[in-house]
C-alpha cells in the first residue's frame, strides 16, 4: 500500500492572520523521515531535471532516510546555496515535484501525492542552519587573483556571490536599498520567509568572505566602468525586474491605489505594519481589491488582510483575476493559504475604471466579465471580455499585482549594455555574458519574470562562466 504524504503543520488560519508569523512549520525529524521513505529512489530520477539548479534530490532524500542530515545538507549546498529559502518559496509543484514519478496530476502543477521535496529541503536547510554547518571554501591559485562585483542582492546576486565565494573569489555585493535580500526582503512577507532565515543566509555569505555595500545605486552612485577601474575583474548584474506594471485604466493614480511593489515594500522592507513605531505609513481599507493571480498578488492580499485585522477592521480582501483558478500562476499552497485566511476570489473579471470620492481616494472599481477562449502564446486559455457586462465592486484600497518590467536605472546609464524590446539585458545564454565583455547578468533582468530558483539557476551559470576564466 502506498504511504500517505506527510503534511507540514501550519498555524491555524484564525490565529495567523493576527500577525506576520510564519504560517508553515517545518517537518520534525520523524515527519521528514516518514516523507523521505515514500521516495521510490528512481533509477532515472526525473525530479532532478525538474529543478532549475539540478539539486541531487534523489541523493539528499536517501541521506535523510539514513538520518544523515548533515550529508543531505552538503548534497544540497553543492548546487544550491539557500536550501532554507528555496524550501520555503520555490514553486516546487511546478518544478521538481511535477516531475516526480508519483505525480498523477494532469495540470501544470503536481498533485499532493508527489513527494514533498520542498518540505524535505527546508528540513535539511533548517537543520544545517540550527547546527551551523558550513561548507568548506575550495580556494585555488587562480581564484585568489579575481575580484568580482555583484550588483543587486536579490536571489540572483546572492546566489552568484555564494557560488564565487565558495571558490575563494573576493566578492563585493552592491545593493541600492538599506538592507540586502532584494525581493526576498521587500517582496516576500515574513509569514512566508521569516527575516531570521534571510539574515542567516546573508550572514552565511558574509562568513564566506562576501562583502556587502548597501545604499549604492550602481549606474548612479558608481558606474560600471568605475567598478572595473576600482579593480573588479568581472561584474555580475542581478538587478531584478524592478518596475511595476499598471493596468493603464482610468483612475489608477487615485489615492489608495498601490502597486504591489509599493504596498509590499512599505509593509515588508519598511515595517509599515508596525507604524508608528516604524515611521513609514501604509493605508488600509474596509474593502481591499487585489488585481492579479501570481504569488505577488497572494502576498499583497494576505498582507492587506493582516493589516485589516491588526487595525480592527472586518477582513474583506478580494482577488480579481481575468482567468480562473486553474490558470493562476501562484503557488498552489499560497492560494490555499489565502483561501483559508478568508480571501475571496473573483475570477474572469477585468478591471475597467476606478472611481473616487471628492478627496481623490478610490471608492469603487468598475469591471467587465470575461470568458475563456482558446489558449494563447503562454499556453493559458485567453480571457475575452464580454460586451455590456459592466459591474462595480466597492473598493477603498486597491493593489495592482499584474507583473513587473525591467528597471532601467543602470541600463539607461550604460548605453553599451544591449537590451531587448522588453528592456531586459541581452545575454549569451551559454555563458550569461552581456554585450559588454566581462559583464554577466542573470535573474529577472536577463530573462523576464521568473521564480527565485530560476534566477538562481541563471546566476549559477554565470558564476560557472566567471569561474572558468576569472
Amino acid at each position: 500500500m502506498e504511504k500517505k504524504p506527510v503534511r507540514a503543520k501550519e498555524l491555524a488560519a484564525g490565529k495567523r492572520i493576527s500577525g506576520f508569523d510564519e504560517v508553515v512549520s517545518g517537518y520534525s525529524q520523524e515527519e521528514a523521515l516518514a516523507e523521505s521513505l515514500r521516495c521510490l529512489q528512481c533509477k532515472n530520477p526525473a525530479c532532478i531535471s525538474g529543478c532549475p539548479v539540478n539539486i541531487n534530490i534523489k541523493e539528499f532524500i536517501f541521506q535523510v532516510t539514513k538520518k544523515d542530515y548533515a550529508g543531505a545538507y552538503f548534497t544540497i549546498r553543492k548546487t544550491n546555496n539557500f536550501p532554507s529559502i528555496c524550501g520555503r518559496v520555490c514553486p516546487a509543484e511546478y518544478q521538481c515535484r511535477k516531475a516526480c514519478v508519483l505525480n498523477k496530476s494532469k495540470f501544470a502543477y503536481c498533485g499532493p501525492e508527489a513527494i514533498n521535496i520542498h518540505f524535505l529541503e527546508r528540513f535539511v536547510g533548517d537543520y544545517g542552519m540550527r547546527n551551523n554547518l558550513q561548507a568548506p571554501v575550495e580556494k585555488d591559485a587562480q581564484s585568489s587573483k579575481a575580484k568580482v562585483a555583484v550588483v543587486g542582492s536579490g536571489p540572483a546576486g546572492l546566489c552568484c556571490a555564494g557560488e564565487l565565494a565558495r571558490k575563494g573569489i573576493a566578492v563585493v555585493v552592491f545593493e541600492s536599498l538599506q538592507s540586502c535580500g532584494g525581493v526576498l526582503r521587500y517582496g516576500i512577507p515574513n509569514f512566508r520567509l521569516p527575516r531570521e532565515i534571510l539574515d542567516y543566509e546573508i550572514n552565511y555569505l558574509a562568513k564566506l568572505g562576501v562583502e556587502f555595500k548597501t545604499n549604492v545605486v550602481v549606474g548612479k552612485t558608481v558606474s560600471l566602468e568605475e567598478l572595473f577601474q576600482q579593480g573588479f575583474s568581472r561584474v555580475f548584474l542581478g538587478l531584478g525586474a524592478g518596475v511595476p506594471s499598471f493596468l493603464g485604466i482610468k483612475g489608477e493614480n487615485l489615492c489608495n491605489v498601490y502597486s504591489a511593489n509599493e504596498f509590499l515594500t512599505r509593509v515588508n522592507l519598511m515595517s509599515a505594519y508596525k507604524f508608528p513605531e516604524y515611521h513609514t505609513p501604509v493605508n488600509i481599507g474596509q474593502h481591499v481589491l487585489v488585481v492579479g493571480g501570481g504569488n505577488t498578488a497572494m502576498d499583497a492580499a494576505r498582507c492587506a488582510l493582516r493589516l485589516q485585522k491588526i487595525n480592527g477592521i472586518k477582513p474583506d480582501v478580494k482577488i480579481i483575476y481575468r482567468r480562473t483558478l486553474t490558470e493562476m500562476p501562484a503557488r498552489r499552497l499560497e492560494i490555499k493559504h489565502a483561501e483559508e485566511e478568508g480571501i475571496k476570489f473573483r475570477f474572469l473579471v477585468q478591471p475597467k475604471e476606478f472611481h473616487a470620492d471628492n478627496r481623490g481616494f478610490v471608492r469603487e472599481l468598475n469591471c467587465l466579465s470575461c470568458e475563456l477562449r482558446e489558449a494563447d502564446a503562454s499556453g493559458r486559455r485567453k480571457p475575452v471580455v464580454l460586451e455590456d457586462s459592466d459591474f462595480s465592486i466597492p473598493c477603498d484600497l486597491a493593489i495592482i499585482a499584474i507583473g513587473l518590467e525591467a528597471n532601467q536605472v543602470l541600463t539607461s546609464a550604460t548605453p553599451e549594455l544591449k537590451t531587448d524590446k522588453y528592456k531586459d539585458i541581452m545575454i549569451n545564454p551559454a555563458t550569461m555574458e552581456t554585450s559588454i565583455k566581462h559583464v554577466f547578468a542573470g535573474g529577472d533582468i536577463a530573462g523576464g519574470e521568473g521564480t527565485v530558483i530560476e534566477a538562481m539557476g541563471m546566476a549559477k551559470k554565470a558564476a560557472i562562466s566567471i569561474l572558468q576564466n576569472p
Partner: protein
C-alpha cells in the same frame, strides 16, 4: 551587515531659519561618491534612523574636494523633525544617490528662477549651474533673474547666496517684512509682461508651481518644475511617486523629478501628496 561606504556622517549642522516654530535646517553630510557624481537637479534618499522613512532631499551643494553634500529641509513631518535632532558627528542611517535626472544645463539666454519657501534651496544649485553654463572661456552664462518668496523675512533663505549668483533678484514676503509684500508669481507676471525670457524654472509649494505654470503658459515660455512627490525606494521600483504628465504616467524618481510645468496634472499630485494626512495627524497626536 554593515554599510562599508563612509557616506552619511553629519559634518556640520546649521539652523538657517527659525520663526514661530518653523525651522529650516542645513546639514553638511559626508558623501564621497555622491559628491563626485551629483549634478544640479538631483536628489538623495535619506533615512534618519533604522525605523525611519526613506525621504528624498534635493542636493543643494556638492563639494567633491571636501567629499560632502549639503541638504536643506524644513521641519514638517516626523521624519524631518527626527533629522533636525541629529547633530554634527551623528550618522544618517542611510544615504543613497545621486538620484533622478540632472537639470538640463545649457545656454538658454534669459532665465527666471522662482523659489518659494524651502523650494528656494532647490533653485539655488540650478541657478548656479545655469550661470556657469558651459560656454567658451570669457563669455557669460545665462542671464539669471531670481524671484524668491516666503511667509516672512526670517524664512527667506539663501538670499545672500542667490544674490551673488543672480544678475537680478526679487524678494517677496507674504507680510512685507522684507522686499515687496506679495507672491513670487506677482513678480513673475510683471517681468514676463515687460520683457522676453527663454526659460522659467520653479520650485515651491504646489499652488505656487501651478500658478507659475498658468502664468508662463500664457506667455508661451518653456517652464520646468521640480516635483515633490512622495517616494519610497526612489529608484523606480514602487511607483509611489507616479504623476500624470502629458496624459502619461511617469515616475518622479526616475523620469523626473523635473517636468514641463504645463503638462503636469497638478490636481492629482496635490491629492496624492495628501494621501497620508490622517496618519500624520495620528503621529502628531502621539508625539504631543
Amino acid at each position: 551587515m554593515s554599510d562599508l561606504s563612509k557616506a552619511g556622517k553629519i559634518i556640520a549642522k546649521e539652523i538657517i531659519a527659525d520663526y514661530a516654530g518653523v525651522r529650516i535646517v542645513k546639514l553638511t553630510v559626508s558623501a564621497p561618491e555622491i559628491s563626485r557624481k551629483a549634478k544640479a537637479g538631483q536628489f538623495v534618499v535619506v533615512m534618519a534612523s533604522e525605523k525611519g522613512e526613506r525621504i528624498p532631499l534635493t542636493i543643494v551643494e556638492a563639494d567633491s574636494k571636501a567629499q560632502t553634500i549639503t541638504l536643506i529641509f524644513q521641519e514638517a513631518g516626523l521624519t524631518t523633525k527626527i533629522l533636525s535632532m541629529l547633530n554634527a558627528g551623528d550618522d544618517l542611517y542611510a544615504l543613497a544617490g545621486p538620484l533622478g535626472h540632472a537639470s538640463e544645463i545649457k545656454n538658454y539666454g534669459k532665465v527666471i528662477l522662482v523659489g518659494g519657501g524651502v523650494g528656494i534651496a532647490e533653485i539655488y544649485p540650478v541657478a548656479t549651474s545655469l550661470k556657469q553654463a558651459g560656454l567658451p572661456a570669457g563669455q557669460a552664462g545665462n542671464n539669471i533673474t531670481v524671484v524668491i518668496g516666503a511667509k516672512t523675512k526670517e524664512l527667506l533663505i539663501l538670499e545672500k547666496e542667490l544674490r551673488d549668483t543672480a544678475d537680478k533678484i526679487y524678494l517677496m514676503t507674504d507680510d512685507g517684512s522684507l522686499g515687496q509684500k506679495g507672491f513670487t508669481t506677482d513678480v513673475l507676471e510683471e517681468l514676463l509682461k515687460k520683457d522676453k525670457y527663454d526659460l522659467v524654472y520653479a520650485v515651491g509649494p504646489i499652488p505656487m508651481m501651478k500658478k507659475v505654470s498658468q502664468i508662463s503658459q500664457s506667455f508661451n515660455i518653456k517652464t520646468i518644475v521640480s516635483l515633490n512627490a512622495l517616494m519610497v525606494d526612489a529608484t523606480g521600483m514602487c511607483g509611489c511617486c507616479r504623476v500624470t504628465v502629458a496624459g502619461k504616467v511617469k515616475f518622479s524618481c526616475v523620469d523626473g523629478p523635473e517636468f514641463e510645468a504645463g503638462q503636469v496634472d497638478w490636481e492629482e499630485l496635490e491629492k496624492r501628496n495628501l494621501m497620508y494626512l490622517d496618519k500624520e495627524k495620528h503621529l502628531c497626536k502621539l508625539k504631543g
